[in-house]
Chain length 255, copies 2
């Protein structure tokens, strides 16, 4: 039997420490191939490149791992990996490890998670990993055993069709981490404020700043798990239908 | 009582014919303010601009309508509209009318729909409209009465918290349109192929091409509705939790 084929992607770019930690975590589990953006792509959501062509260049990330830098978005990386780089559909796609949380509503802005969603659309068991530490010097060591465990479970058990995983890891020492917790996405949002500046020519420009606010007091959420020392595991779907709203419309509208 | 405040956004850019048709459709319903990208932003998904500042310039779209062009993504437009342009939270956000379908899985790549999702995150009743005709010369006239009806319903009835609407309009004459149908998102996907070309310097580059494939034979989907002459209305949520997968993980993993 051939070894499992594992596609590694991210959104912080191919030189980010987080992707190296991810490759190291899953290398014992199979044949690893990396296709990642050639520049940081945080906050790119599910963007794809339509109106210009992509570049793809073989690069070195870690000894013995075929690696490619792509000029596109995280979602582009998955698409081009599947069509042009891999000789068969991978058995697993892992994305990350992201520098910073993708819990709760952050998932919707996240290139890391959108890459994992795209792999799931291709029918590939997939998961995005994020460490709740934005620093470039973040310590990814305590994350590795959880990353490997989750990847092993996906290879062993698969995951129901049309779903994938969003895994967030608290910024804690290995000793302080309490294990995994299966959760739902907390209802939270960013309260944003644009800071206005004036350029040397007298014209205004605006910087996005914001504060993350969690309105959800449930103890079954990813935010609760992370605040209480757990690694949060949220199963995610890409069917966005709000089935419970269909009766509301049928009752209130004349259709 | 003051008139309802209606925010209009899109992803094809402020000069696209679709946004003009949308403004014309909703103008009788309230005070309309437009904040739209200064360039086409199709396929941008839920991308936001983090690492550079935004520009915002007042422009003319239609007589009597305050309009602003923003240098960011569709989601940026909603964020900056709420924080910097509008004096209060709008009563409705309408996005589009997109040139081309955003039915089924297209929603996930769509800047039009991501702008509507962002408004919904802000607690604003919101809807994205798309006409299944990619042409710049598309005829938006038959769409207008449906756009106005849906906007009226949202102003009158609101929509349950954490949800919004994805409305797609078939490319048909007014006489051939059969009315609205409330649906779920069809399970479909793009089968992609990158076309490889060689630049004048001998290096390869890749263009994304693809074919939309609907695997879902249900007669309650948006694809079915559109293929049968209906305007599809899919209620959409931004909680991505796959609740049905939580028991699967708890049964199969040791957590």
């Amino acid at each position: 039997m051939s070894k499992p084929l594992i596609l590694v992607v991210n959104d912080d770019g191919i030189t980010a420490p987080g992707i190296k930690a991810l490759v190291e975590s899953v290398m014992p589990l199979g044949e690893v191939v990396v296709v990642a953006p050639d520049s940081p792509q945080s906050g790119m959501g599910h963007a794809i490149t339509i109106n210009k062509p992509l570049r793809l260049n073989e690069v070195h990330v870690l000894e013995g791992v075929r690696s490619f830098a792509c000029s596109g978005t995280p979602v582009d990386c998955v698409k081009i990996a599947v069509d042009k780089v891999l000789h068969r559909k991978p058995d697993l796609c892992v994305s990350g490890i992201n520098h910073g949380s993708n819990s709760s509503i952050n998932i919707i802005y996240s290139g890391t998670m959108s890459a994992a969603v795209e792999a799931s659309l291709e029918g590939i068991p997939s998961v995005g990993f994020s460490l709740c530490d934005y620093s470039h010097e973040a310590d990814f060591e305590p994350s590795k055993k959880y990353v490997r465990y989750v990847a092993e479970q996906l290879l062993k058990n698969g995951i129901p069709k049309h779903s994938l995983l969003n895994v967030n890891i608290p910024k804690l020492s290995a000793a302080d981490m309490k294990g995994l917790k299966i959760c739902r996405q907390a209802h939270a949002k960013w309260e944003e404020e644009y800071v206005e500046r004036t350029d040397p020519f007298g014209r205004p420009y605006y910087w996005l700043t914001g504060k993350f606010v969690n309105y959800d007091k449930g103890q079954d959420t990813d935010e609760w798990a992370l605040a209480n020392g757990y690694v949060s595991v949220v199963p995610v779907q890409h069917d966005l239908t709000a089935h419970h709203v269909i009766p509301f419309i049928n009752e209130n509208w004349e259709v």
